[in-house]
């Protein structure tokens, strides 16, 4: 009689853990968003949002498209098409890096042309904290994506890794979703 | 439990003598169950209701627990069989869900009523208005319409319940969070910078009411004491008149006054009608009209004044008043000057 392999009851560990992490991170972002919204219009001095903020439409589109490209990359890997995977994964990194570049150049302009820093006023504090926290998560994501790229280039990524990369892509989708919220709060509601 | 009882018996004697110790009929001058003003009375009535409900719940559940613990002990001689396994009962679960919900709703409504009556009370036109500004570690009192500025000892008129003359306090802070708590007069309300608060009292009897800061505000939080003098209307009006006067000028103690005015004292303290106009520390214009110094910490006597000026740490280590490096003689001279500020 063959001993049946114990069937694990329930979902896979990776997505469950990643969703839990996303929940925790969402709670952190929520607090920063609440602080941002609470302080809208309360800065006593210094540049105000409508004076200095320009909605970064192009860079936002880059970031949101990178969600599509990472989805296509994982889908390609699942089907065993590693060339597709490589191209779309690379595209994701490029789009993410472009977004980051956009944030940094916006900050450069705000600091040196408009004189807005984190210590200028309530707007400065809440803006740099919220956008900076998001940017930090983009950087972490890019580091992970680049590490995967390095593994791929050295021939170590195979079709069976698709599930794990799917878990990583969940993180990337989360980063994008947070940007949708941040964009709405900072550039639409707050201005 | 028996051990606990005998312990209580042993401690009863010192406890009983402690009951006799304060001259207060209520065990304590800051007893929340000895209200003397409408907000404190409202809270007291609500608290009695809550205590009755919780006492009833306690008796019922405690008795059930005690019964279970005694009745269902394992017998010394058991037949080795497990008792009947009961997995649940929908009726019981419903009962002990619905009944608590009803109790909770009742308590909620009772509390909601008192919240509204205290927080949304109308401000009559004859109300006394006081602005309280919390500092580390003293209380500043301003009567804007009566044009009085003083510190640490608050005077309000008594309020006849038939024709109330309440005092409305606006609560601000110059530095960290504080809390104004005079239990016999009202519940506590916090003083938070950039967040003005409001409370009111209408004491029904004259007398001195005690309290202290109830929100940790730094090193000397423990000695930020409150003294509220409830005066008769005449006494209160007289006190206001006296406080409105500029400083009493006296030729005596001119040496002390000189030291006071050339040392940095004047940068923190104000004496109306003189060059001293600092606002960081208490207003000293009528210092001798107060019974205590250092926010209630020491009696206002010349000896204590000398000690306080010489080394503030003797009464309040870590307070914000620095030792100005005066000698004992210089401190005595300044104290002699302050004693003229009636």
């Amino acid at each position: 009689m063959t001993v049946p392999h114990p069937i694990l009851v329930g979902p896979a560990r990776g997505p469950v853990a990643m969703f839990s992490l996303i929940a925790a991170e969402s709670a952190i972002f929520t607090i920063f968003v609440v602080a941002y919204i609470f302080y809208i219009g309360k800065s006593q001095t210094g540049p105000q949002p409508k004076d200095v903020l320009e909605a970064p439409i192009f860079y936002t589109l880059c970031l949101l498209s990178s969600s599509l490209t990472i989805h296509l990359a994982v889908k390609g890997l699942r089907k065993g098409r590693s060339r597709d995977f490589g191209i779309w994964w690379c595209a994701t990194i490029v789009l993410g890096a472009t977004f980051l570049f956009g944030t940094l150049s916006e900050w450069n302009r705000l600091i040196y042309r408009d004189g807005l820093t984190i210590s200028t006023n309530l707007f400065g504090t809440t803006y740099y904290s919220l956008v900076g926290l998001h940017g930090f998560h983009v950087i972490v994501g890019l580091i992970l994506l680049t590490a995967v790229m390095a593994f791929a280039l050295s021939g170590n990524i195979r079709q069976q890794h698709a599930e794990r990369l799917d878990v990583l892509s969940l993180y990337w989708h989360f980063v994008d979703t947070v940007w949708v919220v941040v964009f709405t709060v900072v550039y639409v509601i707050g201005r | 439990m028996r051990a606990l009882k005998s312990m209580l018996a042993v401690l009863w004697f010192p406890a009983a003598s402690a009951f006799a110790e304060p001259e207060h009929p209520f065990l304590s001058p800051t007893n929340i169950f000895a209200p003397a003003s409408t907000p404190a009375y409202s809270i007291f009535d609500l608290s009695l209701f809550v205590l009755e409900v919780t006492a009833a719940i306690f008796l019922v559940v405690f008795s059930l627990l005690a019964y279970v613990v005694v009745k269902f002990r394992k017998k010394a001689v058991s037949d080795g069989r497990e008792p009947a396994q009961v997995y649940g009962s929908t009726q019981l679960e419903l009962a002990w869900t619905v009944i608590p919900i009803l109790i909770v709703v009742t308590l909620f409504l009772a509390a909601a009523r008192v919240i509204a009556s205290i927080q949304n009370a109308a401000r009559p036109s004859n109300a006394i208005e006081v602005t309280v500004i919390g500092h580390q570690f003293w209380w500043e009192y301003r009567y804007p319409s009566l044009k009085v500025v003083t510190a640490n000892e608050l005077h309000v008129p008594v309020s006849d319940p038939a024709h109330p003359t309440p005092t409305f306090l606006t609560l601000l802070s110059a530095d960290t969070d504080h809390s104004f708590w005079v239990p016999r007069l009202a519940g506590k309300t916090d003083l938070i910078p950039n967040h003005p608060n409001s409370m009111w009292i209408d004491p029904h009897e004259t007398g001195l009411y005690l309290g202290q800061c109830a929100q940790y505000c730094g090193t000397q939080h423990a000695k930020m004491l409150l003294r509220v003098y409830v005066d008769s209307r005449d006494d209160f009006d007289r006190w206001i008149q006296e406080q409105r006067q500029p400083a009493h000028l006296s030729d005596v103690a001119s040496q002390g006054r000189h030291i006071f005015e050339i040392t940095a004292c004047i940068n923190c303290h104000a004496v109306a009608g003189t060059v001293a106009n600092g606002r960081f520390g208490p207003d000293l214009t009528h210092l001798m009209s107060r019974q205590t110094i250092a926010s209630g910490v020491a009696k206002n006597t010349i000896g204590n004044l000398i000690a306080w000026i010489y080394k503030p740490d003797v009464f309040k280590p870590g307070c914000e008043m620095p030792s100005m490096g005066l000698s004992v003689q210089q401190s005595a001279a300044v104290a002699a000057y302050l004693v003229t500020l009636r």
């Binding site: 309530l122 | 909770v104 909601a112 530095d175 809390s179």
Partner: protein, 557 residues
């Protein structure tokens, strides 16, 4: 399959060098070892936190005492609170969760063993960082001082203006670091419970301890994160010139309170729900009855989790919120009393009709029931906002929350120690010493915390290093301090018992309590792989089914 198991002893190889053994412990990813590391770490800090409390109580034994100056007192109560919550209560509960959850759900380890180790070491490092402040911080009062801003560190007291030097930063950073550890453990618990249950163990057949730790982990995820966010904001204020809580620049001190208590209130449910879990495992076994109303117990806990996220501002009733806000929080606070009360009734009903055996674990759990009832009722008093306007920030509150944390959580923790010590060590503890611990500690607990309510009623605020004579507080403070002696004695007996029994206790066997959950089916202590073969279960009490094949649980569930 037989429930008998041969007591398995490690083969007597040549004694390994101590360095090897230590290395094994430091590099372990085994959930049982990490659990023991967490628990030992917490016990060590329990002693330290207890010493801090003793210093506080000696200073307050009479008015105008000069045992310690105010600066030291303020550091003591800050460190006492911070240590007890973050480096005693949370680690010990994570430790028990780590040890028990995989065993009780029939798994070989947690879902992510390396994350588990990382989380423990983050927490451990956080505690060390906090205490390094005694050496490393630099404030106005000379080299080396611990934070003195209270465990809830209200703004603007924590701003650089009012807390110069680095003591506040040690508070912030140590909690930030250990917070990451807590979130890691929570993720691990959730993934383990949802993904690694043994065949047959659907969610409705999980032991209550697993369910309650699942809810607790969810709360950690949602609650610790706001604290993390607030601490990042505080660091930005202190070091980058930010204005989150800078009232001079229009910032809001009340916002810190909201963010802190959004963490702080669910945090107490994070602490008490595992305590409920211990009671829910111990009371049935020592009453010889299944837990009464399992589905309702699960539902009530989930309700407590949800409602617990909506009551936070009952810590802020005196702050000057509008009457509608105050009223809402009274409603939500009262509401949470309902599922909590349901649980007490269910434990009561579990004992009803049973055959109660008052071994030490059960003694502690029965005392928990009485004491948690009282704690809940004083909580209802505090939840009536106007009553809280008098009682809040006074010794009544201090008495209430110690009643919950010591009288509720610590008592069930002691019960859990005695209940699972045989499983973890393979040996029975000494029952007489256990009883001595119980009686000493319960006398001390009641002396201290029953009488502590009275100074609060008589107007004594908290966090004061001394008080005036003539306020009527003196004798009550004296009694409160005397209770400390008994509690300290009890804890010493407890630790002595654990140590002595570890080396000299009689062998326990795999199932000394005739219990019903999976951890008792393996040897004591369990082998590294937990189970020879992964079990399959059909009911909530798999061992009951095996011991009563004629009357198994799955016929009735």
């Amino acid at each position: 399959m037989s429930t008998e198991s041969i007591a398995w002893r490690a083969p007597q190889a040549a004694a390994r060098p101590l360095v090897d053994k230590l290395h094994e412990w430091v590099t372990t990813v085994d959930h049982k070892r990490l659990g023991i590391l967490y628990i030992t770490y917490a016990l060590f800090f329990l002693i330290i936190g207890g010493i801090e409390a003793t210093v506080l109580r000696i200073q307050l034994i009479r008015p105008h005492n000069h045992f310690v100056p105010p600066q030291v007192f303020n550091r003591m109560f800050t460190m006492h609170g911070t240590t007890m919550i973050f480096f005693v209560a949370m680690p010990v509960l994570f430790g028990f969760a780590n040890y028990l959850v995989p065993l009780m759900i029939g798994a070989r380890d947690m879902a992510f063993p390396r994350l588990n180790a990382f989380s423990f070491w983050m927490t451990a490092f956080g505690g060390l960082l906090l205490y390094f402040s005694l050496l490393g911080a630099n404030g106005l009062y000379g080299a080396g001082n611990a934070p003195d801003v209270g465990w809830f560190a209200y703004a603007p007291l924590t701003s650089l203006a009012f807390s110069p030097g680095h003591s506040t930063d040690y508070w912030t950073l140590s909690l930030l670091v250990s917070g990451f550890g807590s979130i890691g453990t929570a993720i691990n618990i959730i993934a383990t419970i949802l993904c690694m249950r043994c065949p047959g163990m659907t969610l409705e057949k999980m032991p209550l301890l697993a369910w309650l730790n699942l809810v607790m982990a969810g709360l950690v995820i949602l609650a610790v994160s706001p604290l993390t966010a607030a601490q990042i904001m505080l660091l930005i204020d202190r070091y980058l010139g930010g204005h989150f809580f800078d009232t001079q620049a229009g910032g809001s001190a009340v916002m810190w309170m909201h963010f802190f208590w959004v963490f702080g209130h669910p945090e107490v449910y994070v602490l008490v729900i595992p305590a409920f879990a211990f009671a829910s495992e111990i009371i049935p076994v020592f009453s010889r009855k299944a837990i009464f109303g399992y589905p309702v117990m699960v539902a009530a806990t989930i309700c407590i989790g949800f409602i617990g996220m909506s009551v936070w501002a009952h810590h802020m009733f005196t702050v000057g919120m509008s009457s509608s806000a105050n009223t809402f929080f009274v409603l939500s606070t009262m509401a949470i009393a309902v599922p909590t009360g349901i649980k007490i009734f269910n434990w009561l009903a579990t004992m009803w009709g049973g055959q109660i055996d008052f071994k030490t674990p059960m003694l502690f759990c029965v005392a928990f029931l009485f004491q948690f009832l009282i704690a809940g009722l004083t909580g209802i008093m505090l939840g009536s906002a106007p009553f809280d306007w008098q009682l809040g920030n006074s010794y009544f509150v201090v008495a209430h929350f110690h009643y919950v944390i010591v009288g509720g959580i610590l008592f069930t923790l002691f019960g859990a120690f005695y209940y699972w010590f045989p499983k973890m060590s393979g040996r029975m503890y000494n029952e007489k010493l256990g009883r001595l611990h119980f009686w000493l500690f319960i006398i001390g607990f009641h002396l201290t915390f029953d009488f502590m309510h009275i100074p609060g009623i008589l107007g004594m605020p908290r966090r004061i290093y001394t008080y005036e004579p003539g306020r009527g507080w003196d004798v009550w403070n004296l009694i409160v301090t005397i209770g400390v002696v008994f509690q300290a004695a009890g804890v010493l007996v407890f630790i002595g018992n654990l140590l002595w029994s570890y080396f000299r206790g009689e062998l326990a066997g795999s199932d000394p309590w005739d219990a019903w959950t999976l951890e008792w089916s393996t040897s004591s202590p369990p082998p590294a792989y937990n189970f020879g073969s992964i079990p399959t279960v059909r009911s909530r009490r798999p061992l009951w089914d095996l011991k009563h094949p004629d009357d198994p649980d799955w016929k009735y569930e």
